[in-house]
Point group: C2
Chain length 409, copies 2
């Protein structure tokens, strides 16, 4: 196999699921040089220093980083602790929350533990941008700022819109893209990854490297992943996320709740199932030869398998099938602890019970589920507002997917 | 005399010639506190670190600073060496000219020597803003930037215009007003002075002090002084300036060349002649009872007296009168040295001679003066292009005001 063939094969792998590569010719050149010289590419992605639970949305770019590692390259997992340490200076002094250095290190450890389910620790370097940004002098900052114009910053759609709408843009917000770009200079990054919402910032890094006499980084943007609601970007705060640490049955159930229109996208971005197979299944689905529930079960199975292993995936599938078919409580149901003193003559108001499940985003959502017949206690449908008698070991079912075993404590 | 009366008297003095005071109530409060507590006000003005010849245009604000000193206050003569040391980072590396620390110190000395003709050295503190700006961390810069919005910066007319016209504004240019404003914070300035073109920057200082929990400075803007052409702001590069170090006769002659419409403004901004007297003369001039030449001679006399003393002023007036009336060479004519080897058979091309006087901005201007009969050698008009015989001691007259005694060396 000569280098050209290898490079073409790598490019095809790396292109999977991407929104945009700027530009492919540069990437080809860099990959070729790797084979010729053995010098690994430095592939960078920046992360917030707040400690999140990593969910499938995060894995879209993390998995792309892993692909680079599998091809032999080095990943820099860059923790943007500098701005995190500053906090948002526009906040009032009282509410301004600066992370301490210890907190940042602790969060980094939490991060690492999770991302190393996807990244190869041996080919990952964890870096903190405070190491170089904290040392910049005002003179250097001015030198960096001078390389960009105000008009260029206003090309960023959200800035332009806020200015048009008369909404404030703090001057410091113009500095952040520069600092993120300077990270690429400091790291001499060859490639930077991000979501499509990061496109502008990634390009700033590319330009800034050029200004500093470096070979500009290739930027790769990945599509944003919609969450289980099928509409909004997956995020913890919207409650539409699927965490990679969620227990097998919960993960399986959540995947089964995504709209059918997202199955293909999830397969492409979140799994290694070959594109040809995905395409084949998609065509079968479109001509009615593959039921979406079955296709989605394959997706849920694959995702649980990736994060919990084959046997856990098989069990989650069986549990789900049984629950779906028979409406019975699967063995893997969650425990729902209720204090005995909360009960009044052994009873609890049904809405209070539903609220405790954590399944609903709002009371009106819980009410709707109840009134539409989605709530069962020990297999018996409860569809009016009432007090219900609770005993230890009772099984509460909410909708098709959520089962809880009541524990009176 | 009670404090209120003193404060009102001070306010009247300080208001002379100002374009704007923001705001007078704050200034009154600060002046009153001075009398009550004895704490002197800190009055700041910033200057470029390049070494200029101080001209009458500079004295408009310098004289206002002196008024504050005469009332007991402290002046900070602030040399903006920080940005001078950086240079303009947008320039190409080759042309980027950074002043060294030694050059800045040398220029400061040149400055001091000149400004202390106006300021009282005992009540002047010379400061360099690199002392605090050079030590700012990026974190602090972000904190300062966060206090301003992009929209606010675009209120500055020149920024708004350049953005509208598609002309570039470097991002660092947004930082400079902040840094200038931060100077006021670092100095805890009570008052800042500047030309009307500095209004925006002075206000930034006022706002920034408020953000840093300081009492905001009063800003005083002074009108820009037109030069001898009566149109453009006085500046060395335009050649329309009157330097405070110019010899008496040259200064006198230059003042006599300003348009009549500027006499009043020069009196108000550049002299201590009481406003009532200026007003009286102006009315006499307007009803034709005072010839503008006489009024202007009073102005020229007063200005030469201020910078060279009474007897030099009297001599300059006499010389001017004689030259004006008789067209003869005044004793105070400048020497114009010509090397003998430049002559060819004792002669020099007239245009070459005119060029050496330094009076003209361009060759075409010199040609026009020659052809219109403004050039005399030893009282004889030269109005055609020719070689002229030059001898040591010859008198060259150019226009009405410029006399040169030829020195062959």
């Amino acid at each position: 196999m000569n280098f050209d063939t290898q490079v073409e094969r790598d490019l095809a792998l790396l292109a999977r699921g991407t929104e945009e590569i700027i530009d492919p010719a540069d990437l080809r050149k860099k990959l070729l040089r790797f084979y010729e010289t053995g010098r690994r590419l430095v592939v960078k992605e920046g992360f917030d220093p707040s400690a999140p639970d990593i969910h499938l949305g995060h894995t879209v770019t993390l998995r792309k980083l892993r692909q680079f590692q599998d091809l032999g390259h080095e990943v820099v997992f860059l923790i943007g602790d500098f701005t995190g340490r500053i906090g948002d200076p526009t906040g009032k002094k009282e509410t301004r929350r600066q992370l301490t250095e210890e907190e940042v290190r602790a969060n980094a450890a939490t991060y690492a533990e999770q991302v190393f389910k996807i990244l190869d620790p041996a080919k990952t370097r964890v870096a903190f941008n405070s190491s170089w940004l904290g040392r910049l002098t005002l003179e250097e900052v001015i030198g960096i700022a001078a390389k960009f114009t105000v008009a260029r910053m206003l090309e960023r759609e959200d800035f332009a819109k806020r200015l048009r709408d008369g909404k404030p843009i703090g001057l410091h917000e113009f500095l952040y893209p520069l600092l993120q770009g300077y990270d690429s200079v400091a790291l001499q990054a060859d490639v930077e990854l991000g979501g499509t919402d990061q496109r502008f910032n990634l390009l700033v890094g590319r330009d800034l490297q050029r200004e500093f006499g470096q070979e500009p980084q290739v930027i790769i943007t990945m599509p944003l992943l919609e969450g289980t609601d099928g509409v909004e970007k997956m995020s913890k705060s919207l409650g539409n996320y699927i965490g990679i640490n969620e227990p097998p049955f919960a993960m399986f159930g959540k995947v089964m709740s995504i709209p059918d229109t997202l199955i293909e996208k999830y397969f492409v971005l979140l799994t290694d199932v070959p594109l040809e197979e995905i395409q084949r299944k998609k065509e079968a689905y479109e001509r009615g030869a593959l039921h979406p529930k079955l296709w989605k079960e394959e997706l849920a199975f694959e995702l649980v398998r990736m994060y919990h292993g084959e046997s856990a995936a098989r069990k989650a599938l069986e549990d789900f099938e049984r629950a779906f078919a028979q409406g019975v409580c699967p063995e893997s149901a969650q425990e729902l602890c209720i204090a005995r003193q909360e009960l009044s003559e052994g009873k609890l108001w049904i809405m209070k019970l539903l609220e405790r499940t954590g399944v609903f985003q709002s009371k009106s959502e819980a009410r709707r589920c109840l009134e539409q017949g989605g709530v069962y206690l020990n297999g018996e449908r409860i569809n009016v507002h009432q007090d219900v008698v609770l005993q230890d070991g009772d099984v509460l079912r909410v909708g098709k997917k959520f089962f809880f075993r009541i524990r009176l404590v």
